[in-house]
């Protein structure tokens, strides 16, 4: 399942929830790398 991104505009009140695009997904996977190696202490 593709992770979702939620975008909230506080000026207009608009809310968008959608699947991450290719670029967003690539960055998200990089950001999540530490959880593969970091212990829970």
């Amino acid at each position: 399942m593709i992770p979702k991104i939620q975008i909230v505009n506080v000026l207009t009140g608009e809310v968008e929830i959608r699947d991450m695009n290719e670029q967003e997904l690539a960055q998200y996977e990089i950001d999540n790398q530490p959880f593969l190696t970091t212990s829970n202490t």
């Binding site: 979702k4 909230v8 505009n9 998200y28 999540n32």
Partner: protein, 164 residues
């Protein structure tokens, strides 16, 4: 020796920070981007919700450049420093959290200026408490904040600001 005179409290306008609630958002995704922020010199984000997933990233203006430097430490539930948080010119405002972050508190200063911004983060969960202070080396005013979580979050996120 003369009597000490205690100065009267100033009543000048603008002395108080006067934090205002800008938005309340219930997250329902792995990444939350709060956009459209304008006209504030300080920003604060808090959430306190059980079982919020681990923090994977935190960015301003969706900027993944290596412009964030932060330092701090993490204390575990045995009251021992279990990890030093040290990041110099990295792509996230804080290091990824190793445990669920049930209580999160971020404050950003000088958000409206064209100079560097400073920030502090306090976060905690059942397994740890962490604190860090950092600098974001960018010239654009902050108009958006991005949270990345390890999985889908349902945190209720409050954004506060001090008008510029």
């Amino acid at each position: 020796m003369g009597a000490t005179t205690i100065p009267a409290a100033s009543s000048a306008a603008g002395v108080s920070d006067n934090w205002v609630l800008i938005s309340t958002t219930t997250a329902s995704a792995s990444t939350l981007s709060i956009t459209g922020i304008s006209g504030y010199k300080k920003l604060k984000v808090i959430y306190n919700t059980a079982s919020v997933p681990q923090i994977a990233s935190l960015r301003f203006n969706n900027d993944s450049g290596t412009k964030y430097s932060s330092a701090g430490w993490q204390v575990n539930n045995s009251n021992q420093v279990s990890r030093y948080l040290s990041a110099f010119l990295t792509s996230s405002a804080i290091e990824a959290g190793p445990s669920n972050t049930e209580n999160f508190n971020l404050e950003i200063n000088s958000t409206d200026t064209t100079n560097a911004k400073t920030y502090t983060v306090l976060s905690g969960g059942t397994l740890y408490f962490a604190t860090a202070t950092g600098t974001y080396q960018a010239t654009a005013a902050i108009s958006s904040i991005q949270f990345g979580w390890a999985t889908t979050s349902s945190a209720v996120v409050y954004l506060y600001g001090v008008a510029a």
